[in-house]
Structure formats: structure tokens, C-alpha cells
Amino acid sequence: MIIAAAREIKDSERIFVGMRLPITAYGVARLTHAPNAVGLFESGVARYEPADGMLYTMCDGPNQLDAAWTTGLIQVMGLLSGGRVHAGFIGGAEIDRFGNINTSYIGDTDNPTVKLPGSGGAPDIAAMAGRLIAIMNHQKRRLVERVSYITSPGFIDGGDSRKKAGLEGGGPAAVITDRAILRPHGPENALHLSSIHPGHTLEEIKENTGWDLRSAPDLSETPAPSKVEMDALHQIDKDGFWR
């Protein structure tokens, strides 16, 4: 999952990284195919090298030591709003067929069944980054037909509805799960199964998806992690926290 996420980062790109899995993916990408990538954190941090040491939040000391830039939120998120960020990672409680993500309310907003913590900077990243890469566990209750609240927009109602809402570019480029990679396909921009991770099956993936998941014409198997990628992961994640 982390290796698949790392492969989504291209060299020299400016990436909105986020915490947990994405930060490890960023580290692996820097050590392998993307040595000139730049990591951005919404609290007001830009880094070249990933932080040395365990991070619970992007504001922890190790993420500030030897940073490229420590500044304010508006400066860093302004780069995003100004169209200067190539890609961003986000996670979420629920994602739907069109890549819309919910981290706010399950059920009605006035009388929710579950009140989730909320958006953070995810809507801004989903709206303004050149590409959105979502990471989540592949479970039927997470990959749903329609989210009950769009915290962070994907292709909204599909087709050109994202453009109509005023968002010219961007949108989900990949949804990386522990079983597969989903990508938008066709005029509807619905998420299709693009690649199956080694050891998983089409049947199992369809069973664990909350909508009738179709396969992209070029459906393939996700290449297994190379030795170089695994070595990089071991170097970044010394304690094996994310493995």
C-alpha cells in the first residue's frame, strides 16, 4: 500500500503530504525515484528530506528541524490555492464511486448518527491540488455508493459536474487501498479497478466494494515491491510501524 502510494509521486513535484501512511510513502519516493520532490504540510512547513524520527503530527519538533521553510498556513495552503501544488494525499472514513470523501458527518448534518472530526485541510487539497491521491482500507463500509456528506470533492456527481462546480482541474487520480488501486475511467469519471495487489483477487475486491465496481480495460496486477523500494521502506520506517 505504501509502495503503491510512493509510486504516485513524480520527481521534482510539490506534494501535500499529510500524516501517517502518506509521510512514509513520501519518504520512500524521495529515496527511490523522486529525489527532488518537495513535501508540504498545511501547518506551515516545507521539507526536502523527510523528518528523522517518529511523527505523531506535522507540527512535531522533528518535522520542523532542518525544514526548508517554517511559516504560516496561508503561505503553504496559498501555494495550493494558487495552483502550484502537483498532488496531495488524503485519507477518510468514506469514499464513493466518484471519489468524493466524507470525514464530517454520517447521517444527517443536524442530527448525525456519527459526528466525525471534520475536514482539516482535505477539502482545499481535494479541490486545488493537481491530482488527488486517496489512501484507505478496502472495506465495504468505507467504499460506498454515495457518501452522506461531501467533505472533500472528487468528481461530485460524475461527468463534468466537478468542472461545473467551478473546479477546473484536479480530482482523484488514484485511490490506493490495501487490496488494489482504483482510478477514474470513461466519460462518467467513475472509479474503476485499475490494478490488483499481489495476493488479492477480483472477486474478493468486488465483494468488499460498496458499489458495482467495474474493471478498467487495462486492468493489471500491481508490480510487487522491488528490493530497492523495500530497502527504502525499511530505512524510512525503522521501527516497522507502518508495515
Partner: protein
């Protein structure tokens, strides 16, 4: 210049009123003014609007203690533990009292502070287009860019002007001139937007120290109402170069506040039954000492000579 040093107890009592919009945490996950949150709970404030982009468990704690009528922010929970039990309870069941939630994203609340700080009535934004935040926050209006020849949607976000902002800084002088370093989130915008500023300084230094490096001043003393000397005011949140994050404490809070009775027990033990932040630090004892940053990674001096 006026000296503005006072105990935090007195600053909270003098500058906060029931029903105020109070910024408690503007830097995101660091420099959260927990010492002020605790004092607001001890003094029994009611109907506050808890304003913060992200404030870790500060907002959750205030809600559980019955101090909050409104929440204005982008994320409320427990960064280490996940969901905030009190926030969930209030939103889902109206306990201990119903709360109104004003949803923002981080950038939109930032730009709302920016508008509040610099006298703009509202800001037109693109970064929340397509999000249901526009629907669930009635203060945000979907409009069109009047300068565009084609139909171009924009979201209009009104200025946000808090009554009081509490800010944790590494060092300040007795006049309130403050140095902050590391990432600052929305500290600058939130403080300029606020009617009153209360600085919680980890260390009080001579005015010459602050004056020696004016580029590091994020909050000049002339805008500050009170400066309080409160070491480790942000515990369990970190303060760059001073204190590490107390992850264990945050996990413990998550475990020990699941039910209202559990939360009340926790809140008595860690907040209500303690007279002040000195007692809180004493209670933490060695646990706090372990979080003190002892290493040095000093920046190079900057020359400000005029000739």
C-alpha cells in the same frame, strides 16, 4: 510602553466574557493554549464559541465541561486517539448541551481570519467549491466571480473576528512583544483579527532580547492585552524547541473520557481540583520533565547593524 504581565487567572477573568468567541489554538497541533482552556473551565465560563482550525482535545474538553455553545473550526477530535468523545456526544445527542457547528476547511477559516484581520468584509474562495461545507455552514454563500466573462463559481466567506485570542509563544517581554519560531499556522491572522490578545509565554525575557531580532516577532506588544508567564502552557501539545508532544497523555484522555461520568472524573482530577497551572505542572512531575527539550539546534545570528 505599558507593562502587561499578569497571572493567567486574572487575564482570563478580566478579558473573557460568557458568550465570547475565543481562539484556543491557532498554530494547528503545536502551541495549543491548554493552560487557558483549563482556566476557562475552572472559572465556569458558559456559551463560548470555541474557535480554532484544529485544537486537538482543547475543544473536546471545553465541550465536556459545558462551556461551549458553538464550535467554529475545521477539525475537532483527539489527534492521537481519533474521535473526541465529548464532541461526538454533543453533536449526536445534545449532551451535556447542544452545540452549533460552523464548518470550515483549514484554508477557508484561515482566509476568514485574514479578512477579519485586514478589514475585508469577506473573501472569495475556490478551495471549498464542491464541498458540502458550503451547504452545512449557512454563513458561506455560493456566488459568481463578477470579473469573469464565463460563469465562474466562487464561495464567499465572511470575515471572522474573534473576541479573544490566546496564543502560546516561546518567549515574550513584559510589554507583550513576542518571539515565535517554527510553523505558526494561523497565529498571525487569528491574533490580528481578534479584539483582544492574551499571550502565554514559556519564558519572560528582557525587552532587549526581543528587540535584537524583530523579524522573529509575530505579535508586537502594542496589540497585546496581557502577557502571562506560563511554562509548558501547551502541554500535552508541543512547543518547538521547548516541549515535546505528550502522546501518552492524549491516549489516556481518549481512554478515560468515553462516558460523561468518566470525563467528569478526568476533568476533576486534571483541571477543576487543581488551583492553577503550577499545580498541574507539579502533578505531571517527572512526566513533564521527560518532555522538556534539552538539545540545541541554534539558528545563525542575523546582523541588523545600520552602519
Amino acid at each position: 510602553m505599558t507593562e502587561k504581565l499578569m497571572p493567567i487567572k486574572e487575564a482570563v477573568a478580566s478579558f473573557v466574557s460568557d458568550g465570547d468567541g475565543v481562539v484556543l489554538g491557532a498554530a494547528l497541533e503545536n502551541a495549543i493554549p491548554f493552560a487557558a482552556t483549563h482556566e476557562l473551565i475552572r472559572q465556569g465560563f458558559r456559551n463560548l464559541n470555541a474557535i480554532a482550525p484544529i485544537s486537538d482535545i482543547s475543544t473536546d474538553m471545553l465541550i465536556g465541561a459545558g462551556c461551549v455553545a458553538e464550535v467554529t473550526g475545521a477539525w475537532v477530535g483527539n489527534v492521537s486517539g481519533g474521535l473526541g468523545h465529548n464532541y461526538r456526544r454533543a453533536a449526536e445527542t445534545g449532551l451535556p448541551n447542544p452545540i452549533k457547528i460552523n464548518d470550515y476547511s483549514n484554508f477557508s477559516i484561515g482566509m476568514a481570519f485574514f479578512a477579519g484581520a485586514y478589514g475585508l468584509p469577506y473573501v472569495p474562495l475556490k478551495s471549498i467549491l464542491g464541498s458540502d461545507i458550503i451547504k452545512s455552514n449557512p454563513k458561506i454563500i455560493l456566488s459568481e466571480n463578477p470579473f469573469s466573462e464565463t460563469k465562474e463559481p466562487v464561495a464567499l466567506v465572511p470575515a471572522l473576528k474573534p473576541d479573544v485570542a490566546f496564543l502560546v509563544v516561546q518567549r515574550a517581554d513584559r510589554f507583550g512583544n513576542s518571539h515565535i519560531w517554527g510553523s505558526t499556522g494561523l497565529t498571525q491572522e487569528a491574533s490580528i483579527a481578534a479584539e483582544k490578545i492574551i499571550v502565554l509565554a514559556d519564558e519572560i525575557v528582557e525587552p532587549e532580547v526581543i528587540a535584537s531580532d524583530p523579524s522573529r516577532v509575530l505579535i508586537p506588544g502594542f496589540g497585546v492585552n496581557a502577557v502571562c508567564h506560563v511554562p509548558a502552557a501547551s502541554h500535552p501539545a508541543p512547543l518547538i524547541g521547548r516541549w515535546k508532544r505528550d502522546n501518552e497523555f492524549l491516549h489516556q484522555y481518549h481512554k478515560e473520557t468515553r462516558e460523561p461520568a468518566d470525563f467528569n472524573r478526568w476533568c476533576d482530577e486534571w483541571v477543576r481540583d487543581l488551583p492553577d497551572h503550577d499545580a498541574y505542572r507539579t502533578k505531571l512531575g517527572g512526566q513533564l520533565e521527560d518532555l522538556r527539550i534539552r538539545g540545541e539546534a541554534l539558528s545563525a545570528p542575523a546582523n541588523y547593524a545600520a552602519e
